[in-house]
C-alpha cells in the first residue's frame, strides 16, 4: 500500500514536473487548480489568497491578530504621499497608468506587444519615473515598494485578470516563466513547483509551504524577516537563495516572465495586498 502511494505520488509529480511542448496557459492553470482541489478539498479558490494561513488554523489565528494592526499601514500611507507628489517636471505617477493608477493592479503583469516584454507594476513605476526625468528606484524594498503597496491597496478585492494576448512573444514569455517555475535549481535541486505544488502544505522545518496558486495576491507584503514591506520578486530571490541557486536581478526579463506565469495561474482570485507574512 505504501508502495502504491509512493508510486502515485511519483506519477503526479512527474505529471506536474514535465511541461507539455505546446503552450496552453488555460489548461496549465486548470491542471494546477485540479491538483490543489484534490489535495485540499476543504478550501475554496478564494482561500488561496491567504497563503499558508489557509491551511493551518493555528497559524491563521496568529496572523489574523497581526492583521488587526497591520504592520504595512505606514508603508501604504507613505506610498500614497509619494504617489501624489509631482515629479520635478510637474507630472505624477497617475499620468503613466490607466485610470490614474487607481484600482488597476489586477491587470498586471501585462504583455506589451510593441516592446515585446512583460510589464509588472514595479517595472512600470520605474518606467514612469525615468520617462519623466526621475532616477529609477531599487526594486526590492523602500520607496518603490511603498508606491506599489499603495497601488495594491486601491485594488483590493478586484479579481486578478492577467491577459495573454494572441502573440508569439507573449506566449514565449509565459512559457519561459513556466519553465523557470518547474525547473529544478541550485545545489538543493528543488524547483518552485517542488516546494509550492508537490509538497505544498507540507511542513518544512517549522514552516508550512504555501500553495503557488495564492502567491501573487497580496504583494508587496510585510515580512517580519525583512522588517519592512517587500516586493514579490524580492521573495523570488529569497527562495532562489534558499536552494543555493544564484538569484536573478529583480525585474530582469527572467523574473518578469516568472511573475507573468505565476500570476496568470491566479486569475479570478481576489487581490488582498498588501499583506503580512511571518
Amino acid at each position: 500500500m505504501k508502495g502504491l502511494t509512493c508510486l502515485s505520488a511519483m506519477l503526479v509529480g512527474s505529471l506536474l514536473i514535465s511541461a507539455p511542448a505546446i503552450a496552453d496557459p488555460q489548461s496549465d492553470s486548470d491542471d494546477v487548480r485540479a491538483f490543489f482541489q484534490k489535495r485540499f478539498s476543504n478550501i475554496t479558490l478564494e482561500d488561496y489568497a491567504d497563503g499558508a494561513y489557509a491551511l493551518n488554523e493555528n497559524a491563521r489565528m496568529q496572523w489574523e491578530e497581526i492583521e488587526e494592526f497591520p504592520p504595512y499601514e505606514d508603508a501604504v500611507d507613505e506610498g500614497m504621499v509619494l504617489f501624489e507628489t509631482p515629479f520635478a517636471n510637474g507630472k505624477s505617477y497617475a499620468s503613466c497608468f490607466p485610470n490614474g493608477g487607481i484600482g488597476i493592479k489586477q491587470d498586471y503583469p501585462k504583455y506589451d506587444i510593441e516592446t515585446q516584454q512583460v510589464i509588472t507594476v514595479e517595472f512600470a513605476i520605474n518606467q514612469c519615473r525615468t520617462s519623466n526625468g526621475e532616477t529609477a528606484l531599487p526594486y526590492g524594498q523602500g520607496e518603490l515598494a511603498y508606491v506599489s503597496a499603495y497601488m495594491a491597496s486601491t485594488s483590493r478585492e478586484n479579481l486578478i485578470n492577467v491577459v495573454i494576448p494572441d502573440d508569439d512573444g507573449a506566449l514565449a514569455a509565459y512559457e519561459a516563466g513556466k519553465k523557470m517555475f518547474y525547473e529544478r535549481k541550485g545545489q538543493l535541486n528543488l524547483a518552485c513547483a517542488t516546494c509550492h505544488i508537490s509538497i505544498a502544505g507540507g511542513q518544512l522545518r517549522a514552516e508550512i509551504t504555501s500553495p503557488a496558486l495564492g502567491h501573487t495576491t497580496h504583494f508587496p507584503a510585510f515580512r517580519f524577516g525583512w522588517d519592512d514591506i517587500g516586493t514579490l520578486q524580492k521573495r523570488y530571490a529569497g527562495c532562489n537563495k534558499q536552494v543555493r541557486a544564484k538569484p536573478f536581478a529583480l525585474q530582469s526579463e527572467e523574473y518578469r516572465n516568472l511573475e507573468y506565469f505565476h500570476t496568470f495561474m491566479a486569475n479570478g482570485l481576489p487581490l488582498n495586498g498588501p499583506g503580512s507574512r511571518k
Binding site: G13, L188, L190, Q203, L204
Partner: protein, 113 residues
C-alpha cells in the same frame, strides 16, 4: 618480551579503538545531519531528538530493519532522484553538498536510529 606485551596490549585495545572511531563517526554523523548548512535533514524528517523537525519525508526510525543493505541507504542520500525522480530530497552526493566521508558518517549515524 616488552615488545610482545605491547603487541598484546595493542591487539586487546584494537576493538576498543575501532569502537571509539565508530562512536566518533556516529556523533559526527549526527552533527552533519542536524547542521542547517550541511545535511539539514531535520528540515524534512523527524529524527532522534532533533527539534523543529519538518514532516515532508518519513520519520527516520528503525533504519536497520528498513534498510538492511547499506548501499541502498547510502544511495538514497547520495541521489534520491534515482529512486524517485519527483522527490523533494536533495541529492547530497551528486550535488556535492556532503563529501563521501560525510555521507558515510551520516549512514553510520542513521543505523543507530
Amino acid at each position: 618480551m616488552k615488545k610482545l606485551t605491547q603487541l598484546i596490549t595493542a591487539i586487546l585495545l584494537l576493538p576498543l579503538l575501532l569502537s571509539t572511531a565508530h562512536a566518533d563517526s556516529v556523533s559526527e554523523g549526527k552533527e552533519i545531519s542536524f547542521d542547517r548548512k550541511k545535511g539539514n535533514c531535520l528540515a524534512c524528517h523527524v529524527m532522534d531528538d532533533g527539534e523543529l523537525a519538518g514532516l515532508i519525508g518519513p520519520p527516520l526510525i528503525m533504519m536497520k530493519v528498513r534498510f538492511p543493505e547499506r548501499a541502498v541507504l547510502r544511495a538514497q542520500i547520495w541521489d534520491a532522484t534515482v529512486r524517485n525522480p519527483a522527490t523533494s530530497m536533495p541529492p547530497y552526493g551528486k550535488h556535492r553538498m556532503l563529501t563521501e566521508e560525510e555521507i558515510d558518517k551520516v549512514v553510520d549515524y542513521l543505523y543507530t536510529l
